[in-house]
Amino acid sequence: MIYLILTFILILLMIGAAVYAIWQKDLLYAVIASGIISLLLSIIFLILQAPDVALTEAAIGVALTTIIFIIAIRNTVRFEDEHDKKIKENKIIKPEEQ
């Protein structure tokens, strides 16, 4: 019984994190949210009697994937709508205005 409630809460959190990860404009937060998805997922795997998969998901999904995303963000830009910001600051001119 307690597992059922736990699973239900975990699933709700996971879906919430997924929606947040897609909706959030700040890529860093989005990536952290996807790390949280992996973390919750690994707990669900444990509840579903798959300890091997839970271990792998915890190590790969939470640590390695997240860090590689963060490195990629660091090497590029942090915000999804970086373009609009640049236009606002007149850093780049739209092609048709040239």
Partner: protein, 231 residues
């Protein structure tokens, strides 16, 4: 407009998927006779491996694992090609954030225990949950911790590829030994031992250790290559 079309088609896909999977059912045996029982019995009786997932990954479907290790190898190789720089460009690595003394000493303290945990996990892969992939990734996270904390911590690229190559050669070599002795690639060539013994499962434990080393070296290499990208 495009979003609306995508939303509608995704909804259709979702409804179909829900329909299929509720039809399949949850928590029950779906099929009358599958390979599942053969795997469970074979793992217990023939291979004497207590962790059935390990015996599937390494022996019954060991060929998948070989392919998978190759995928990682290819990924690190493709990564090296994509982010290629001429040798003299390889300068200082970008560090995500300057780390404080606490983080630095904490990382130093944690690193050996993480590596030890990883080694434990892949040595006991046939007895308890875990194995080569899990242990390898745990070791890689240990290296990751060191790499992001210390600006000047470096892993020798040559040494990584030594480990990677030798582990891969060991894996395939053991497989080929099975091929020449027992006429089938990856066949067991050592005595199976007793269930729940550290030296059980014959060749499985050794192959999983090789996989562990290979995965650890490859993942560390991937992270190392990406970290060397400076903005």
């Amino acid at each position: 407009m495009k979003k609306a079309i995508i939303l509608i088609s995704l909804t259709i896909l979702g409804v179909y998927l829900i329909d299929i999977f509720t039809g399949i059912g949850f928590g029950t045996q779906h099929f009358a006779s599958g390979v599942k029982d053969a795997y469970l019995i074979g793992s217990k009786e023939t291979l004497k491996v207590s962790n059935v997932v390990t015996s599937i990954v390494v022996n019954f479907r060991g060929f998948d694992t070989l392919g998978e290790v190759t995928v990682l190898f290819l990924a690190s190789m493709a990564l090296g090609g994509i982010l290629y720089k001429k040798r003299h460009d390889v300068g200082e690595r970008s560090v995500l954030f300057p780390s404080t003394r606490i983080v630095m000493s904490g990382a130093k303290l944690l690193f050996p225990s993480i590596v030890l945990l990883g080694a434990y996990v892949f040595i006991h892969g046939h007895l308890s949950p875990g194995g080569g992939f899990q242990g390898g990734t745990i070791i890689a996270t240990g290296f990751l911790l060191m790499l992001i904390t210390y600006r000047n911590y470096s892993v020798s690229h040559n040494r990584l590829s030594y480990v990677e190559s030798f582990a891969g050669i060991l894996f395939i070599g053991l497989g080929l030994a099975g091929y020449f002795i027992n006429n089938s690639f990856l066949a067991n060539i050592f005595p199976a031992g007793k269930l729940n013994d550290l030296f059980s499962g014959g060749v499985i434990g050794i192959i999983y250790v090789a996989v562990g080393f290979k995965v650890a070296a490859e993942l560390t290499g991937i992270i190392y290559t990406v970290l060397h990208e400076k903005d």
